[in-house]
């Protein structure tokens, strides 16, 4: 230990962790501002535009707002109600935040850096905290399932009916939507032949066909399921304010509430990362980023910028959707998961498997280009068929129209159908 000198790889890994955590925390803070702006603009308001540089009158369009919000919520009283399970109550936000941050160990946040001989790095340095992890996708999904524990613990430990209901709803919803999420993902893994997220991006870059085009059904299923996983509207039942006050974080305040809210935004960021990496080509953009290895810093920066821009675009879409559709009812939510998303996901998986299996025959019959076109056309055909079948065959929900011709009222007692009460 006396001669402990960190190796360049350790230093680089630490730098990447610092960069990622710093970047994510800043991004979460500023996404709150963006969310508030979007909410305001959609509602024809101006939104937060006052707070600028502290102690001056410079407003900067309200860019100082996250700092003020953060300070306010940190300095607020961290109140613990007497009726809570103290250990779990404290552990819940920590579990949630730790899980949501640890997910990013396996998520690439760019392509890679060119070799840096000055630091003794002779190869490309992937922009990924754990580049050697061969099961990246599994890591991501395992940890995002652990994040549910944070929500559940929070709801349970609060010893409050709203918190408890929020936690229950959350668990039911996440269990239901993990399946379509996994099915959407399996198609991609099958096509790319790797569980590493950077390899999935490379596979899309090398063919130039993003998986959103090659597997439209998988993309739609994954997109909808990731909305539900991130508990964003129209699937935000775990914290439906109108029904459950705050859902699982009803009893939380101060910095613990902050941890919950940050983790929620991190979920959305994770979902956006996964959508972009797995279906929208990651750092790839035709004619801009190239698809080969990274040789110069320019290429590395362009790829980083393209990835960030795509992620930001997806997040904006998340926020726009929030104000576009009303919340689903719980039975509709479950209908959608089990009766629509699950069969569609399976159909996608079978299509992708069949296309991949019979690719040599396709190439033999149609030539290289024809096979490539067929590999896109067949999934689109399945997509249209599956979508129409889902629309026609599935019930739109429980029939809750009022009963127009009820049984005639009991003339003597006026109790209608509760004649059982009369007899008793």
């Amino acid at each position: 230990m006396q001669n402990f000198i960190p190796s360049p790889t350790t230093l680089v890994a630490l730098a990447k962790i610092g960069l990622l955590i710093g970047g994510l925390m800043t991004a979460a803070a500023y996404l709150v501002l963006v969310e508030r702006w979007m909410a305001a603009w959609v509602q024809d308001r101006k939104g937060p535009n006052r707070v600028g540089i502290p102690l001056t009158k410079i407003r900067l369009f309200g860019l100082g707002q996250p700092l003020a919000d953060g300070l306010k919520i940190i300095l607020k009283e961290d109140f613990t109600p007497r009726h809570v399970d103290k250990v779990l109550y404290t552990a819940a936000p920590l579990v949630l935040l730790a899980a949501s941050l640890a997910i990013f160990a396996a998520i690439p946040f760019g392509s890679s850096l060119p070799p840096i001989p000055a630091l003794g790095l002779t190869g490309e340095e992937p922009l990924l905290v754990a580049p050697g992890l061969d099961v990246g996708v599994l890591w991501v999904f395992a940890l995002s399932s652990i994040a549910v524990y944070g929500v559940l613990l929070g709801g349970w430990a609060s010893n409050n009916k709203y918190g408890f209901l929020g936690g229950l709803r959350s668990s039911a919803q996440l269990v239901a939507y993990e399946i379509p999420l996994g099915l959407g993902l399996l198609g991609v893994v099958l096509a790319a032949g790797s569980l590493k997220l950077d390899a999935i991006m490379n596979a899309q870059a090398s063919t130039g066909i993003w998986y959103a085009f090659a597997q439209p059904l998988g993309f739609v299923v994954f997109l909808i399921a990731s909305f539900a996983e991130a508990a964003r509207l129209p699937f935000d039942l775990p914290e439906a304010e109108q029904e459950l006050v705050g859902g699982y974080h009803t009893e939380y305040s101060g910095i613990k509430l902050l941890l919950f809210l940050v983790s929620e935004f991190l979920h959305m960021v994770t979902a956006a990362f996964l959508i972009v990496i797995m279906f929208l080509g990651g750092w790839h953009l035709w004619g801009v980023t190239g698809s080969g290895p990274v040789e110069t810093w320019t290429v590395a920066l362009i790829r980083f910028a393209v990835l960030s821009a795509k992620i930001f675009g997806v997040i904006l879409f998340f926020m726009l959707v929030r104000w576009s559709w009303p919340r689903f009812r719980f039975d509709q939510l479950m209908n959608l998961a089990w009766k629509v998303m699950l069969p569609l996901g399976l159909a996608n998986l079978v299509t992708v498997a069949a296309v991949e299996e019979f690719r040599p025959q396709l190439v033999a019959a149609l030539g290289e280009g024809g096979a490539r076109a067929a590999a896109v056309a067949i999934p689109w055909g399945v997509f249209l068929l599956g979508w129409i079948a889902a629309g026609v065959l599935t019930p739109s929900g429980t029939d809750n129209t009022p009963i127009r011709t009820p049984e005639p009222l009991d003339a003597e007692h006026g109790l209608g159908r509760r004649r059982d009460l009369v007899q008793a």
């Binding site: 127009r404 009820p406 009222l409």
Partner: protein
């Protein structure tokens, strides 16, 4: 009323067509509505820097004022109709014999508790001589409760402050002052 009552007209909900069952029109209309509002002009203003536009000052119910007549005297005849009409009981009038020959009484003191007032405009409706009126001043603030109890002088000063921007409503509406 029973659901089977003949006076109820039941409207049939349109059955969902194929397009609606595919959710696509809903998807598109939802997104276009939000996107349109995202870029449309905003209805709120940056308040202390910009004043919100009061639609019609004649029907706006802001801070009260006591009008003066042509000779600069308070128009009020201390009839207590406003105090009687007031649902919040925020008007307190002490009447005295009028020093002027054209009326019997005048208010020796006239207090409105602006904190109790619910700005319903009943006082303005009740007043037979158009003495009490609600202006379009909308940002009423004070540093103490006492300060928010407006006396006669303060109410008259509100009139002096607003008479140019807002003439007396009876005049503005073309009635006799």
């Amino acid at each position: 009323m029973k659901p089977s009552d003949p006076s109820i007209t039941w409207l049939e909900e349109k059955p969902l067509g194929l397009a609606e069952r595919l959710y696509l029109p809903l998807f598109v209309s939802g997104l276009t509505t939000t996107a349109r509002h995202l870029v449309s002009p905003k209805v709120t203003v940056s308040f202390p820097d910009q004043r919100p536009k009061v639609g019609n000052p004649l029907i706006y119910r802001g801070v009260h004022r006591l009008n003066r007549d042509a000779e600069g005297r308070v128009k009020c005849v201390a009839c207590f109709l406003c105090a009687t009409a007031c649902p919040a009981h925020c008007i307190d009038i002490v009447a005295a014999e009028s020093p002027w020959p054209d009326r019997e009484k005048y208010p020796e003191s006239f207090h409105i508790d602006e904190l109790r007032c619910i700005f319903c405009g009943m006082c303005e409706e009740a007043c037979p001589v158009d003495a009490i009126e609600l202006t379009s001043l909308l940002d009423l603030t004070g540093k103490s409760r006492e300060e928010m109890i407006f006396d006669k002088e303060k109410l008259l000063s509100v009139y002096d402050m607003t008479k140019d921007a807002e003439p007396m409503k009876s005049t503005a509406l073309g009635c006799d002052p």
